[in-house]
Symmetry: C5
Subunit: 95 residues, 5 copies
C-alpha cells in the first residue's frame, strides 16, 4: 500500500455509471498526483493508506467496482521527516 | 487512477477481435504516451481519469474485455499549475 | 496499454508447458526491452499496442494463459517525433 | 517479489472493516516507504520478501482481503552490500 | 514479461505455508534485485523470462499460489550488448 496525502476532492460529472457517486480525492504519492476512491472519509491534509491492484476494488465496496486506488485508512500520526530519519537509521543499521 | 490528458484517437486496423470497435485514445500520463480505451467520449485536450489494473476491464464494458487502461471520467476543471501549487501547499503544511 | 516497437523474436526452448508454442517478441517500451506474447503477427520495426495486467492473459487466447504483456494491435501509422510534437502542443494548450 | 526492510509498525485506527486487526508494517523498498500487511511476524530491521499484485491478497489470509503488499517471508541472511557485489559480478560475467 | 538475470538462490526459512518449498531466486531486473519463484530450474548467470501480475500465480503451479514474479523460461541466447545495439538500430529506423 502507498502512503499518500490528500490534496482535495475531484469533481467529474461525466463519468461511467459504475463509478456511482463515491467520493474521489486527489492524493499526492510522492510528487505525483493521483485519484483515489475514498472509503474512509478523509479530508485534505490527511496522511492516508491507499491500496491498489485488484484489492482496490473490494476495498471500494464490491469486487466489480472499477477502482485501482482506494483510500483504506487514515494514519494516526505521520511525520514524513521523522519517518525518513527512522528509515535512514534502519537502512544504516547492521544487515 | 491516473490524471491524463487526451492527445488524439489511435487507429489500429490489425487488432485482436476481442478489442471490438471501441474507441482508442492516445493519452499523456505525465510525459509518457499511453493508449486507453475510451468509455466516456473524450476529445483531444480533455483532462481525464484513467483506471488501470483489472478494473480497466469492467470499466470498458465487461470483465473479459482486454483493457489495462480505460478512460472512466472527464474532469470538470483541471488547471495543472494550480493543482501543483495546491499540492505543494499541502505538502508544506503541518504533518 | 503501452506503445512499443517490435525488435525481434525471442527463442526460449526451456519454458513452462503453459506457454505452449506461441510467438514471443522482444519489444522496446521506451528504452526498456521487454518480452510480449504476439497475438497479431507483428514483425520487427512495427509499432504495436501492448496490453498488460490480467488483460494480457485473455488477450493471449485464454484466461489461464500466463502472459503479463500481449501485443494486441499493430498501429496503422506512428511517427514518434510527430506524436511527441502533438503531445507537447496539447500539453501547452489551455487547461 | 520485492526485497524490503521493515522500518516500524503503522497505526491506523480509522480504517475499513475489511482490514481487520492485521498488523501493518512500514517497509523500505529501496528508498520508498510503503505499507505491507505482515503475515509472518517480522520486526524492525528484518529483511523480508514482500509480494504484490493479486497474490498479496491470498498471502494475507483470504482472496477477498484487500492487500496489495504482504510480507510473506523473512530472509535468513541478507547483506545488501554483498548482494550488490554479487549482482555486479554476475552482470559483468559472460553473456 | 521481464528479461532478468539469475543471481543466486534465496533462503527464507520463516515463510508463509502457501509458499511451500518452491525454489526462490534472486534475479536482476536492470539494476534492481527482485525475488522470483523458479518454475524452470534456472542457475546463476542464466538470462530468463519473468512473468508478473496475476499470471505469475498459475505460472508457479496453481492459481492460488502467492507469487507475483515467476521464472517461466530460460532464454537460449542473450547478449545484452548485441540486444541494445539491435534495439537502437530499430529505434533509429524509419517510423
Amino acid at each position: 500500500m502507498l502512503i499518500c496525502r490528500v490534496v482535495k476532492p475531484l469533481v467529474s460529472t461525466n463519468r461511467i455509471p459504475d463509478f456511482e457517486h463515491k467520493h474521489l480525492q486527489v492524493v499526492l504519492d510522492g510528487s505525483t498526483q493521483k485519484v483515489a476512491v475514498d472509503a474512509v472519509g478523509a479530508i485534505p491534509g490527511d496522511w492516508v493508506i491507499c491500496v491498489g491492484s485488484s484489492a482496490a476494488r473490494e476495498a471500494a465496496g464490491s469486487k466489480s467496482y472499477p477502482s485501482d486506488l482506494t483510500i483504506v485508512g487514515i494514519i494516526d500520526h505521520w511525520d514524513p521527516e521523522a519517518a525518513k530519519a527512522e528509515a535512514a537509521r534502519i537502512a544504516g543499521g547492521p544487515a
